[in-house]
């Protein structure tokens, strides 16, 4: 009996060893091929971090710094010249922001950067209350619409109908000093928050490129979910769906467009955000402008395609991006006007983007096999 057991255990050990050896052998003898490289998520993550995300934050930081210093100049001596400079750098920083808003995972998510930088429409009442109360808490969700770019939009462009009237709020108004203090508070706060995110990325980078899995909490999972959510909720809905009423019975809300007070940059902001998504999808190097390892190359290496036509999924998605982009180009720069006078064109952008949302959310996520739940699964 005893020897019977022993013999079998030896057999079991040998077999396990053989299987293990077979499994290991394949790996050591085959040099990596280019196809393998396309499926190497570490390469993709490294490229995205080093050549897109981190430099994009760097670019944004430069623009934001300029805005802060122009803001300081304006607050030291509020006049037409300083206001114009402040406004111009606000536009530039806002536009640059659209290129980093999509990285809403890791440090940006931890700092809830988007919520503090770009929740609109701005709350005029909230802002005015905060001006009166310099100790108002700006860390709570209720304060999201009272700070960031939309609040500055109101404070720089929306206080009066003429520039003279606006300037008066910073010069002759009884609470001018308090208003200046609040603007200062907002710009420094944005600066501090961004610094935190940039600093965190120096350490998070290592985590980011080492978590190469596709499970919950992996870099791909966080990034793709954040990316898709950004496209769906913050570009499609936020910039087009909500103002045009496409999602709510066709009841339009032109006052809910981005940069509502400045108005004529709303299309540019949307286009910039949309282009940033396209560029990120294609792995476009911020420094060189060349495409690199990305969602696109990964999907292509996986062989994801429409089996009916043979067209690659990456190409289909890029075509859909281009279609949405084309529809946006047909809009006037002032989306507020567009909602009021030419709303079907706004709804058309929403509808076109919706097609891309489905592809990103379903086709791309499924092709990449990204896990969205943490519970057991036997493949439906």
């Amino acid at each position: 009996m005893k020897s019977f057991f022993e013999k079998k255990y030896i057999l079991l050990l040998i077999l396990t060893g053989l299987l293990w050896a077979c499994g290991g052998g394949g790996e050591t003898t085959d040099p990596p091929t280019p196809v393998d490289e396309g499926k190497d998520r570490k390469l993709i993550l490294t490229h995205l971090a080093d050549n897109i995300i981190i430099p994009a934050y760097g670019n944004f930081k430069a623009k934001l710094t300029l805005m802060v210093s122009n803001g300081d100049a304006f607050m030291a001596k509020p006049d037409m010249t300083t206001l114009t400079a402040f406004r111009a750098s606000w536009v530039e920083a806002y536009t640059e922001w659209e290129k980093v808003e999509l990285f809403d995972f890791g440090p940006a998510e931890r700092q809830t950067l988007r919520s503090f930088f770009n929740i609109y429409p701005a709350s005029e009442k909230g802002i005015n209350d905060n001006i009166a109360d310099p100790t108002a808490n700006l860390e709570v969700p209720a304060s999201f619409a009272q700070q960031g770019f939309p609040a500055l939009d109101y404070l720089l462009n929306g206080l009066g109908t003429t520039d003279t009237a606006i300037l008066a709020f910073y010069t002759t108004a009884p609470d001018a000093a308090k208003r200046i203090a609040y603007v200062k508070r907002l710009t420094s706060r944005m600066n501090t928050l961004l610094d935190k995110v940039i600093t965190e990325w120096t350490t998070y980078r290592e985590t980011y490129i080492s978590k190469t899995g596709l499970d919950i909490g992996s870099s791909f999972s966080l990034m793709v979910n954040g990316f898709v959510l950004h496209y769906e909720r913050f570009i499609r809905s936020g910039k087009f769906g909500i103002p045009s009423g496409a999602m709510l019975n066709g009841v339009i809300s032109p006052e809910k467009v981005e940069a509502f007070y400045k108005k004529d940059i709303s299309r540019t902001l949307a286009q910039t955000a949309h282009q940033a998504v396209i560029d990120f999808f294609n792995g476009k190097n911020i420094k060189t402008g060349a495409d690199g390892p990305s969602f696109k190359t990964y999907l292509t290496a996986l062989g994801a395609k429409d089996s009916a036509t043979g067209q690659s999924l990456a190409e289909i998605i890029n075509n859909q991006f281009a279609a949405s982009k084309g529809k946006m180009e047909g809009l006037k720069p002032n989306l507020y006007e567009e909602v009021k006078t030419n709303n079907p064109a706004m709804v058309a952008v929403y509808t076109e983007m919706q097609k891309a949302v489905r592809m990103l959310k379903v086709d791309m996520t499924s092709a990449m096999s990204i896990t969205i739940t943490y519970t057991d699964n036997d493949g439906d």
Binding site: L12, L302, D306, D378
Partner: protein
């Protein structure tokens, strides 16, 4: 046949199975509890998807913890063979109740466990090496009818063979789907990871997996191939456990497959256990007795297994592609066959000119939304929930429409339901759901 039914076998294999199965279940429940899933899956969500005909089975709020406790306690009692009959009935009822509470947590292996629990209610797994047998000499027996052990083997055999049959389809064999999608996702694993970048590997896994499922019960039955087959069981299930998030299933199957070994092997295990825990192996006088089960049990088993053999084929009664419509998909051992993902955005319209695009996160958990968006019966259940919810919130006789989009095994996504179908007016039944849009592709095979 008469001859076969009279054959007896030492009670050891079934006793070992009872202990292993009970402990694995106990472990499963503890794991489930420790991960916080009782709250996440059965208490937190606002809505639960009942099974057709079992709408009365609902989570019990905080008492759901009590339900899991009862289930765990019954599992332990079954393992110990203490108040066995009551515990087995309790285990079957509590476990099955848990699995019926929400369709979105459906797993084939939970179904398997429920069925085995049901068999265990009738099987004399407690007549040997159990507290019951120790305390009550009258039920103690060293032998049981051969068919009592074979019933478990048959159940395991059905699971494997049907899982294998389900793999005999063009997606699995000719396109290596869905493994072609799933395996590259694990290419960062140490040692074997780089293999998953090779195009032939998903094919090899698919074909071996299919062959494994179809042959393993027979290889386990034959004494000549048994050890080799068991090694294959271990390798196969350990590999699936490493590669896929399938929870306890691999471990349960590795333990369950021990039933195929000889009585001597199981006696060896029991001798070892009795030495470790210093408990008597058998109960003296009962050494030569054979347990005689109640006479109604055999016919009951006959009906049970006939049902098991026929039920997975019910999909043949429905038109359309099974993987697409999922009519007759569950309870048929279709495991790991599909990479299916979807998107479902509902619009509710009231007669009083009210309109609402639903944010599913307001009502469903991530898991529920994922399951609902690809399974037509769940789409319908959710649509009805929305209809009733919005009817109570100011919408006059609400209509419910869905913008759905589903991808299956790497095909480009497309709508599962026509956006013009008012789901509020469709009723669920075992009839074909004619409102499911056609798949417009064929997956050949079972």
């Amino acid at each position: 046949m008469q001859q076969y039914l009279k054959q007896k076998i030492p009670a050891a294999p079934l006793a070992v199975f009872r202990i292993g199965f009970g402990l694995m279940l106990l472990g499963s429940i503890i794991r489930f509890w420790a991960k916080g899933w009782i709250f996440d899956l059965y208490i937190k969500p606002r809505y639960f998807f009942p099974f057709y005909g079992f709408e009365f089975v609902k989570p019990l709020g905080n008492a759901t913890y009590l339900l899991f406790f009862v289930c765990a306690l019954c599992a332990l009692l079954v393992a110990l063979g203490w108040f066995y009959r009551v515990a087995a009935v309790g285990l079957f009822l509590s476990f099955t109740y848990i699995e019926l509470m929400d369709k979105s947590t459906y797993l084939n292996h939970y179904y398997f466990i429920s069925l085995v629990c049901l068999l265990m209610v009738f099987l004399p797994a407690h007549v040997y090496f159990s507290i019951d047998a120790y305390r009550n000499r009258r039920i103690a027996a060293a032998y049981i009818p051969q068919w009592c052990v074979d019933a478990i083997k048959l159940m395991i055999g059905i699971l494997y063979v049907y899982a294998g049959l389900a793999k005999l389809n063009s997606d699995w064999l000719l396109h290596a789907q869905p493994l072609r999608i799933w395996l590259p996702a694990r290419n960062d694993m140490p040692i074997i990871g780089p293999l998953f970048n090779k195009d032939w590997v998903p094919y090899a896994f698919s074909w071996f997996g299919c062959l494994y499922d179809l042959t393993i019960p027979f290889l386990l039955l034959r004494s000549g191939t048994r050890w080799l087959a068991y090694v294959a069981v271990i390798v196969f299930h350990v590999l699936t456990a490493l590669l896929f998030p399938i929870g306890m299933f691999p471990h349960i199957m590795i333990v369950a497959a021990l039933i195929f070994f000889s009585p001597d092997f199981h006696k060896g295990i029991i001798r070892q256990l009795s030495r470790w825990f210093r408990v008597p192996e058998t109960t003296g006088t009962a050494n030569s007795r054979t347990y005689v089960p109640r006479s109604y049990i055999l016919p009951v088993f006959l009906v049970f297994f006939s049902f098991q053999i026929l039920f997975p084929f019910r999909y043949l009664l429905y038109p359309g592609e099974l993987f697409w419509t999922e009519q007759g998909y569950r309870f048929s051992w279709r495991v790991m066959l599909m990479e299916k993902a979807g998107y479902a955005q509902f619009t509710v319209i009231g007669k009083n000119d009210k309109r609402m695009v639903v944010n599913n996160n307001d009502f469903l958990s991530t898991l529920q939304e994922k399951m609902m968006s690809t399974q037509p019966d769940m789409l319908l259940q959710y649509a009805h929930f929305l209809r009733d919810y919005y009817a109570q919130h100011g919408f006059e006789s609400p209509q419910v429409y869905v913008d759905s989009y589903v991808t299956l095994n790497g095909r480009m996504g497309k709508p599962l339901v026509s956006p013009e179908t008012d789901l509020a007016k469709k009723e669920d039944s075992f009839q074909h759901k004619s409102w499911i849009l056609p798949f417009n592709d064929t997956i050949k095979g079972f």
